[in-house]
């Protein structure tokens, strides 16, 4: 199994942390595509290919889109291959990932793939910062789904749904979030980073106005 990490952060990314939860033959970062132009050859050499990337403005990062264009330009290479996309985002709701999930579905016919699956994992921004114990549920679910993909089984809908979680926040959670906003609790991480960088006073700057 070949994995492409589509995060522009490369080894500093949540995608990289999650990739290393799985058993794979090779793991490449699309960030380095210009230094390692053999990625298409690697696709040719593997039957099962996993793409893992974070949501950038409601879809794949530009880097990933460029790689998909490159694959289409060499579409014979992927005929009858099996693709798995794992997409994640910082927002806690699955709704943010649904549009790009639909896009992936369209790629199956476009690339003449034998199989294409998509796994959604919202609320993933903190993965790289959290201790393993806090990632345990997410890790076990992802590993179980990727094992199913690798062994040719259908992905468990129950596990997919558990990992995707709610489409939108419940009314209770929305109220809780709004209260957290008012109390400044939801901004704690951002503010701590802004203060660490001596940028807190500039946080609302509008430099291009």
């Amino acid at each position: 199994m070949l994995i492409f990490n589509g995060s522009p952060r490369g080894e500093e990314s949540n995608s990289y942390v999650m990739s290393n939860w799985f058993e794979y033959n090779k793991l490449y970062s699309l960030k380095y595509i210009k230094k390692h132009p053999n990625y298409l050859q690697e696709i040719k050499n593997h039957e099962k290919i996993v793409f893992i990337y974070p949501l950038y403005v409601d879809a794949m990062p530009g880097l990933v889109k460029e790689f998909l264009e490159l694959i289409e330009d060499n579409v014979d290479l992927v005929k009858d291959k099996e693709f798995l996309f794992i997409i994640h985002c910082g927002f806690p709701e699955a709704v943010h990932l649904r549009t790009v999930e639909k896009y992936h579905t369209m790629l199956k016919d476009r690339f003449n793939l034998k199989r294409l699956d998509t796994i959604l994992s919202p609320g993933s921004e903190g993965v790289r910062l959290m201790p393993d114990s806090m990632n345990k549920k997410r890790r076990l679910r992802l590993v179980s789904l990727v094992d199913e993909f690798r062994s040719g089984k259908e992905l468990s809908k129950k596990t997919l749904n558990k990992l995707a979680g709610a489409e939108k926040l419940s009314t209770f959670k929305k109220v809780l979030y709004k209260v957290g906003n008012i109390l400044g609790l939801t901004n704690m991480y951002w503010n701590s980073q802004l203060k660490k960088n001596n940028a807190y006073k500039k946080r609302y700057d509008r430099p291009y106005e």
């Binding site: 522009p8 990062p61 460029e66 694959i71 906003n181 951002w190 609302y204 700057d205």
Partner: protein, 158 residues
Amino acid sequence: MKIYIDGRDNVEIKKQGENHFVLKDMSINYCTGCWDCWLKTPGVCRLKDDHNQIIKQLVKSDEWVFISNVRTGFITSTLKKTIDRIVQIVLPYIRIYEGECHHFPRYDLAPKVKIVVDGDVLTTESELLIEYFKRAALNFNGEFDVLIYEEEITDVDF
């Protein structure tokens, strides 16, 4: 004021005016996900290339027109990488907006978002593009307006 962000990569494009940005003729790097534009230099991307020309015009415009051919069933990577870097115009802070989590806006903007596509476009592709730009507009405190299909884009009301 309008801005035209032209991400076509399949034809020669003649720049139509100061508010028409022909991306394939500009130097625009990929967003690296560093978050400096949120956490170190709020509102300013650390990458020094032509993208800030777009941002300067973007924050003054109440109508954003994105232009693209459909490539691999979606907008071009040239346009997508440009859209990725618009995140500097929102704050890192998250709010509940239209029933979902979205970023707070940095500027007083509520743009109308249009997408113009040319070439062969399947119905499923145009539906997906509408859905995508509706979501992207929501993230930028705007509202999706319309998808315009042009067999050949020669005059988009520049």
